[in-house]
């Protein structure tokens, strides 16, 4: 056997790939990372040029400011179009949307991956989230329990640098070992958080015939706050600043721009972990799109082909092959599935690309009679977190609820308020200024993240001859729908919002139907004759799910391919169910766990 080019080849320089690269390089392994996209944010100046582009972008959508190369295209929420039942697929942008519902989420293909524009929520999944089938008779069970993953959650919280306080989080149903503290104290609550806590925390809310308690709870954030001196047995925690400018971003500065991007890098991004990986000897090759996983006669992966590309408008590429002792796909849920389907690999279970899940994101909005301090601080610092689990999960989705510090930003505020006042009400001068201040200060937005069950028909496929990108590689074809479980969950979430607005004395403005709705192109559906609309949350999961049975699962609990034992497929795609937690912390915990298993085996 010839000597391989490296010990570990990792496809994808996002958070999962970065964590594996760092830990395996620290363990003395020779690591090479292939990144399809560009070398975003390698220096402070590079990063600031992206921030400048973001500020100049008319629509501050998640991908605003970040590179979108024809050779490694990223999906954009601006490309979502309404689909006609029985009509042709939507082909605007990178995704091919087969429907029946358009898939509403994006991700970012460049160095740092989607953590360049993630929200920063670092919420552990609940113990019951790992056992949906045995607890509620829906979905599937994980091959891991909460207790098995808990130490790896702690590792991920260290890697990301999570700000939270244990006494808050136990209110959501989580358990922690005695004495555990997060690296940093929670982000100080916003004025709105306190306003909501005073008025809503502990109040009853009805779901069906049952009464539950509304709990307003701080959200753990991957953003720098005040270090907790009790962390790590009293050793404390040193916040990690910006890449290339380590004195920046040591505390959240309140840029109110977690999405599309944190100008200070006070919010974690994978560039920080990559920098540590490179310092430990890992090599990152950018503009290198993996195009085929090669499998030998012994069912082991024998190499990865990739296209090293140059050129912005009409890219050209040269094909290379790289070999390693172990291979890791960490390219994101959709790209991992796409690459395996392109390669005809790891799919004995026929589950590659299936069970695509997101958190359908239902908004409810109202006008309060007091100013709330909108548009200050991180997007969400507290949520209503006590309805994430309950017996209703046998019938419909549970959900967690973001309390939005940025008013109706997602509907276009404050620019849309100005336009309405100027063109609609013909206001100018101090009357205009007072109106805008009055209205925007009273905007209360709740965002419900609805649990979605794994459905084999919600899936990523490829049709290479029909749909390809500038390098001739297939574009993801997505078939997606919302089932009765989720639609009923949306209805229940909406009823909770109505009750909470009533309790707060807020004027409910929510309207899902109508041509003036900014989300008119997104997932619209009727349920019990009422219209609803959900957006994507960017939480793509499930496309290479883990489990104990090679006939039904793509990877084992170590995220190792059942078909090819020297191949690992990592990320949120391994998650058998999505729960209600934003998935980055969970995929990071899984990556830490896999890195340890690989390091043990390789050393």
């Amino acid at each position: 056997m010839t000597h391989p080019d490296c010990d570990v080849l990792i496809v994808g320089a996002g958070i999962a790939g970065a964590i594996l690269a760092r830990r395996l390089a620290d363990a003395g392994q020779q690591v090479v990372v292939l990144e399809a996209g560009e070398a975003t944010g390698r220096t402070w100046a590079d990063y600031q040029s992206n921030i400048a582009t973001m500020l100049a972008s008319p629509a501050k959508v998640p991908n605003a400011g970040w590179t979108n190369s024809p050779a490694a295209p990223s999906p954009s929420v601006l490309d979502i179009r309404p689909l006609t039942p029985g009509g042709p697929p939507g082909t605007a942008g990178y995704f091919v949307q087969e429907g029946p519902q358009p898939f509403g989420s994006d991700y970012q293909r460049s160095r740092g991956g989607t953590t360049l524009h993630w929200y920063g929520h670092c919420i552990r999944m609940l113990p019951s989230d790992f056992a949906m089938r045995s607890t509620y008779g829906v979905g599937v069970d994980w091959p891991l329990t909460y207790d098995e993953l808990a130490p790896w959650y702690a590792e991920a919280e260290r890697e990301i640098g999570v700000a939270a306080d244990v006494e808050d989080q136990v209110r959501t149903g989580l358990t922690f070992p005695p004495g555990y503290v997060y690296p940093m104290h929670k982000i100080p609550p916003t004025h709105l958080d306190r306003w909501m806590t005073e008025r809503l925390d502990g109040t009853p809310v009805r779901i069906g015939q049952d009464t539950y308690t509304t709990g307003v709870v701080p959200v753990p954030g991957g953003r720098n706050s005040t270090p907790n001196p009790a962390y790590d047995g009293g050793r404390g925690y040193q916040p990690v600043g910006a890449v290339g400018r380590p004195t920046s971003g040591l505390r959240c500065e309140g840029n109110s721009s977690c999405i599309p991007g944190c100008p200070a890098q006070a919010k974690y991004n994978a560039l920080k972990t990559l920098e540590a990986a490179v310092a430990a000897g890992a090599r990152v090759i950018t503009q290198a799109v993996a195009s085929k996983v090669l499998v030998g006669a012994d069912h082991q992966v024998s190499g990865v082909e990739y296209l090293r590309w140059t050129g912005d408008t009409f890219p050209t590429a040269v094909q290379h092959t790289i070999t390693a002792r172990r291979y890791v796909l960490a390219a994101h849920s959709v790209e991992n599935a796409k690459l395996l389907l392109m390669s005809g690999a790891a799919n004995t279970s026929d589950q590659v690309g299936r069970n695509l899940m997101d958190h359908p994101f239902l908004l409810s909005w109202a006008r309060t009679d007091e100013p709330l301090g909108t548009f200050r601080g991180p997007g969400t610092t507290a949520g209503i977190e006590t309805l994430r689990d309950g017996p209703y999960r046998a019938q419909h989705s549970s959900f967690r609820t973001d309390i939005d510090n940025w008013g109706f930003q997602i509907l276009g505020s404050p620019g849309s308020d100005v336009a309405d006042a100027v063109f609609g009400d013909q206001l100018f001068g101090t009357a205009l200024r007072d109106r805008v201040a009055h209205d925007v200060q009273r905007q209360l937005m709740l965002g419900f993240l609805l649990e979605q069950l794994p459905d084999p028909d919600n899936r990523v496929t490829i049709r290479p001859h029909a749909y390809s990108d500038a390098l001739g590689l297939p574009r993801p074809v997505i078939h997606y729908d919302l089932d009765a479980y989720t639609r009923q969950g949306a209805a229940v979430a909406r009823e909770c919002a109505v009750q909470w607005f009533e309790e707060l004395g807020a004027d409910d403005l929510t309207a899902y139907a109508g041509p003036d709705r900014p989300m008119a192109a997104h997932q619209q559906f009727l349920w019990n004759d009422r219209p609803y609309c959900t957006l994507g949350a960017g939480h793509l999961c499930g496309t290479h799910r883990m489990g104990h049975d090679p006939d039904h699962h793509v990877v084992d609990p170590d995220q190792r391919s059942w078909d090819h034992r020297n191949l690992f497929v990592v990320g949120a795609g391994s998650m058998p169910t999505i729960g209600t937690s934003n998935p980055t912390l969970t995929l990071a915990a899984l990556a830490c766990r896999t890195a340890a298993a690989m390091a043990d085996e390789l050393s």
């Binding site: 500065e253 620019g415 100027v422 101090t430 205009l432 200060q441």
Partner: protein, 155 residues
Amino acid sequence: MSHSDPFEDFLSVSAALTGFSVAQLQGTGMARGYFDELVAIVGDELTIALTREGRRALRWPDDVEEQLRLRVMDDPDLGPLARNLVLLWYTGGWVQLPADWRERNGASSLDGDRLLSARSWTEALMWPAIGAHPTGAKAPGFASWTGPPWVGGQP
């Protein structure tokens, strides 16, 4: 006869239209750029007509609002310009003028929906108006969000 500088008039009229002072507008660093942008999109003649009629309205300090409405806002040609100028100051963006306006006065290729620049976003008056900083810039500092709202307390 007093000689009047259209840019000085532009500042005074902009202040009256936006509810901010001339000093605040100058403080954004955007005034000259917006004036030049207006000239580029709609030409000298209409720009000067707007500043001239605005200056005339400002001669009645007790009745500025009504005078502005009569002379500028209700005028079929100057009204749309003034509203676009207010939107530009408040949001940093230009929106295409109404179709009938474009038919009467000509349609510039610059007259399209756009955000002018990163600076026009960070200097947009909507941010101080709502008691906030521009999203993505001028960060007010750690824990600045914990206190009561900075504006909007009036019923």
